[in-house]
Amino acid sequence: MNIKATIIDKVGLLRTITRLAHEIIERNKGSQNIVLIGMRTRGEFIGRRIYEKIKEIDGSQPDFGVLDVTLYRDDFRTRLKQPEVSVTDISFDINEKDVVLIDDVLYTGRTVRAALDAIMDLGRPSSVQFCVLVDRGHREMPITADFVGKNIPTSINEEVKVRLTEIDEEDAIYLIDSPNKNSEN
């Protein structure tokens, strides 16, 4: 991993999560009707942290679920390796709810597109909002995020690497040289 810059460090990440939690509560005028859905893999852990923060701020406990969008991806035919599927774990009703989808990096927008399809197969929410830690640009879909931790203009040869203590050794977000062109972010 060739690190070009640290975008957010441990302390910064804590601050960003706190801010995003506040923004979500503010936009939705409380947390009564929202459900949080983290997108596997790192969106799940960011989602959990935001969920804990909302609980702390608001004293409420919105439903939290995990979404695996692999089955909805549009790139099966072009990929060189087979994506591993895992289970979607959404054990609550999303009908008439305000769904907040949470992911780590927003890039081409294709993953969110797949997530929207997956959400629609689970029910008819009254709204879907999108919360992302880093927006790095280069959209290929007409998609924008409702809540953004940080906007980082990047070149196509770079990659944004989010590292979280839940699965990595540290909390940090780096800008690195892309190891290959088929970057997943």
């Binding site: 089955l71 909805y72 991806r73 087979q82 599927v85 895992s86 289970v87 979607t88 197969d121 689970l122």
Partner: protein
């Protein structure tokens, strides 16, 4: 890691990692089956032919549902509507279907070896849905999945396959699969229903059903094919039931913790008594549901294999 082969012809020689991958992937699809909309777009644009030379409504419907829930385009080809009876050779029939640009063939045939033969004349992924008395891998996989769902693990588990082993396609697949996943496999049935040399596969053989019930954790009970020449392998259905049938009395007397599987369709009063078929020990309908998930997993893993 993708599956090591582009076909699923049987479980003989399939590495344990592949079986594990299929079982794990099936968990994902099992969740999809509980959703309000039981459909994902994963195999959009893939064309799958269900090539059934032998009638098997259940297996075909299970595959067809699995395909539809993955959004694949499916076509059914059964002998009743086929041209094999009009004098067209088997090879020409397959070549014709192949020329329609298909991605996968699910094949059921009364002759062993047909799925293997298809791999030589077709570029498609071939999935064996039962060939002769050879193998029926997806049935064994769904059996293993269903057992695992209840017991948590296959390793060290004692599983006995009961019935007409010699004429069964389910038995061999189960033996290969269960052994490679670490289970201890045994067989129970009259000696006329045991094929030559089967003990070479490392399975114990029982001729006493009560002993088999007593000494095993799971019984996978095969259907006795009543349409076979009566009186040749067993004297009568009545005698079979009396000596090899699974009844509540036998279970309650010899093993109240046993788990009963049956690939269906059941002959009530033959291999299972009605109380057992409806009772607390069996997981027959779970097997049917899991069958769709297993087939979705196999279709997904082969259909998206790089």
């Amino acid at each position: 890691m993708p599956l090591s082969s582009k076909h699923l012809l049987g479980l003989q020689g399939v590495p344990a990692e592949d079986i594990q991958l299929i079982l794990d992937t099936a968990t994902t699809f099992r969740e999809v089956l509980d959703r309000p909309i039981k459909k994902v777009p994963t195999l959009q644009g893939k064309t799958i032919v269900n090539l059934f030379f032998e009638n098997s409504t259940r297996t075909r419907i299970s595959f067809e549902l699995a395909q539809k829930r993955l959004s694949a385009d499916t076509v059914n080809f059964t002998t009743s509507s086929s041209s094999t009876k009009k004098g067209e050779t088997f090879k020409d029939t397959v070549r014709n279907i192949e020329a329609m640009k298909i991605d996968m063939i699910i094949v059921r045939h009364e002759s062993a070896g047909v799925p293997q033969y298809l791999t030589q004349i077709s570029e498609a992924n071939i999935i064996n849905a039962g060939d002769g008395r050879h193998e029926h891998p997806t049935q064994a996989l769904l059996d293993m999945y269903s057992i695992k769902e209840k017991t948590g693990d296959l390793k060290g588990l004692k599983v006995c396959i009961v019935g007409d082993i010699a004429h069964s396609r389910v038995a061999l697949s189960n033996i290969y699969g269960l052994i490679s996943m670490g289970a201890k496999v045994s067989l129970c049935g009259p000696s006329t229903m045991m094929p030559m040399g089967i003990e070479n596969l490392g399975v114990k053989i029982y001729h006493n059903i009560e002993k088999a019930i007593h000494e095993n954790d799971v019984l996978n009970v095969l259907r006795i094919q009543l349409e076979r020449k009566a009186g040749t392998t067993i004297p009568s259905v009545r005698e079979y039931h009396n000596y090899f049938g699974i009844t509540s009395e036998r279970i309650e007397r010899f093993n109240r913790d046993i788990l009963i599987l049956h690939p269906g369709p059941i002959n009530r009063g033959v291999e299972l008594s009605s109380e057992v078929a409806d009772g607390p020990y069996q997981i027959i309908l779970d097997q049917v549901t899991n069958g769709v998930a297993i087939r979705m997993a196999v279709l997904y893993l082969l259909g998206t294999r790089p």
